[in-house]
Subunit: 187 residues, 2 copies
DNA sequence: AAAGCCATGTAACCAGTTACATGATTCT
DNA sequence: AGAATCATGTAACTGGTTACATGGCTTT
């Protein structure tokens, strides 16, 4: 049994609801969009492997409009596996900020270009903030329906804080760029 | 010529100073620690390939105390390649928060465990904050020595803002956990 | 004496992306 | 009519990690 994170994302999601691979993709792309990602190239093979290890079971449902849906349900053994993983300390966060890679070598580029990278970073974060706010609004009215919603909310709140801090940094930095430009000097 | 990011990290660093593979590893681990990482398994093969493509040149320096140092210097063609890459828009940021993956499935675990994950996240971010503050202090006195230092500073400031926001989120979240525990209810 | 740093590198592996293939239904 | 969504999946590739190998010097 492989113990990569993809495995536990699937087990975790299936611990809430039986789902198809397609559903899982969508669930990750929405409620985990800020901090995780999974492609079909990971999902389908992992589902197959989890089934083989009896951590999930499959029900093939005939679908009149479209291909047959394969709905997966977590087993007792699957729940145990998930819970065991939860007790292990989390690895440290991994970040890849390609734009910072470009900015840190900014002395090799015209200031306008550096500014453009910062502006685009700002826009990406504003978009994330909007998405997170929308999730939060959707979540609020159903918060009492399931304990799991509280935990989803917590992850959204972190996404919001970080995006907000990122937008603020971008604003401050752009201001500095602007001041130096007005003065006619190089940064 | 491959155009993965490792290539441009090396070109960028070498655009500031001639360096060995070992130096590059250390430079990434310090000034880029917040937003990038490279292993020797990427560095040495990439250096070889960059040399073959004449974007960098190698000087073998005999080293009395230890193995021979291979110092790499960027060429004109290398600078051009770097600058061309800088003009391309940056890909969006990639984040992996394994602890959020554990937290989002927190309904499958005892509250103390979720709390522990948050506390460890907080500690990681406090450590980063300390490191960033130390970098900032080291940078301040030499800020005028080279334009590139300003750009390094900007990346440090973003790292600081995000870590600060993360610590604050952790504090707020832990407070909520504490309140619910005192009240005897489940979260 | 042992741990850690300096300094090189490779091979095997694991993680993750992308492009492709298929095809019906539903929305604009 | 065309685009998007539903729904499955694989193969080839790229990116990145880890473990190993080597060995002297320096610090505790």
């Amino acid at each position: 049994m492989k113990d990569n994170n993809a495995t536990y994302v699937l087990l975790g999601l299936l611990s809430h609801n039986p789902m198809t691979g397609y559903d899982i993709k969508k669930a990750v792309a929405t409620r985990m969009s800020y901090f995780w990602d999974l492609s079909y190239g990971q999902i389908y093979p992992t589902l197959k492997q989890l089934e083989k290890n009896k951590l999930i079971t499959k029900q093939v449902k005939n679908n009149p409009n479209g291909p047959t849906r394969k709905v997966y349900t977590i087993t007792e053994a699957g729940i145990k596996e998930l819970q065991a993983w939860l007790t292990k300390p989390a690895k440290k966060e991994v970040h890849k900020y390609e734009f910072l890679l470009k900015l840190i070598f900014g002395d090799q580029a015209p200031p306008e270009l550096n500014q453009k990278h910062i502006e685009e970073f700002k826009e990406r974060n504003q978009k994330i903030l909007q998405t997170m706010n929308a999730f939060e609004e959707n979540l609020k009215p159903i918060l009492n329906q399931s304990e799991s919603h509280y935990y989803v909310l917590l992850t959204i709140l972190l996404g919001k804080s970080i995006s907000k801090a990122s937008v603020e940094w971008a604003d401050n930095t752009l201001k500095i760029f602007q001041e130096h430009k007005l003065g006619g000097e190089k940064l």
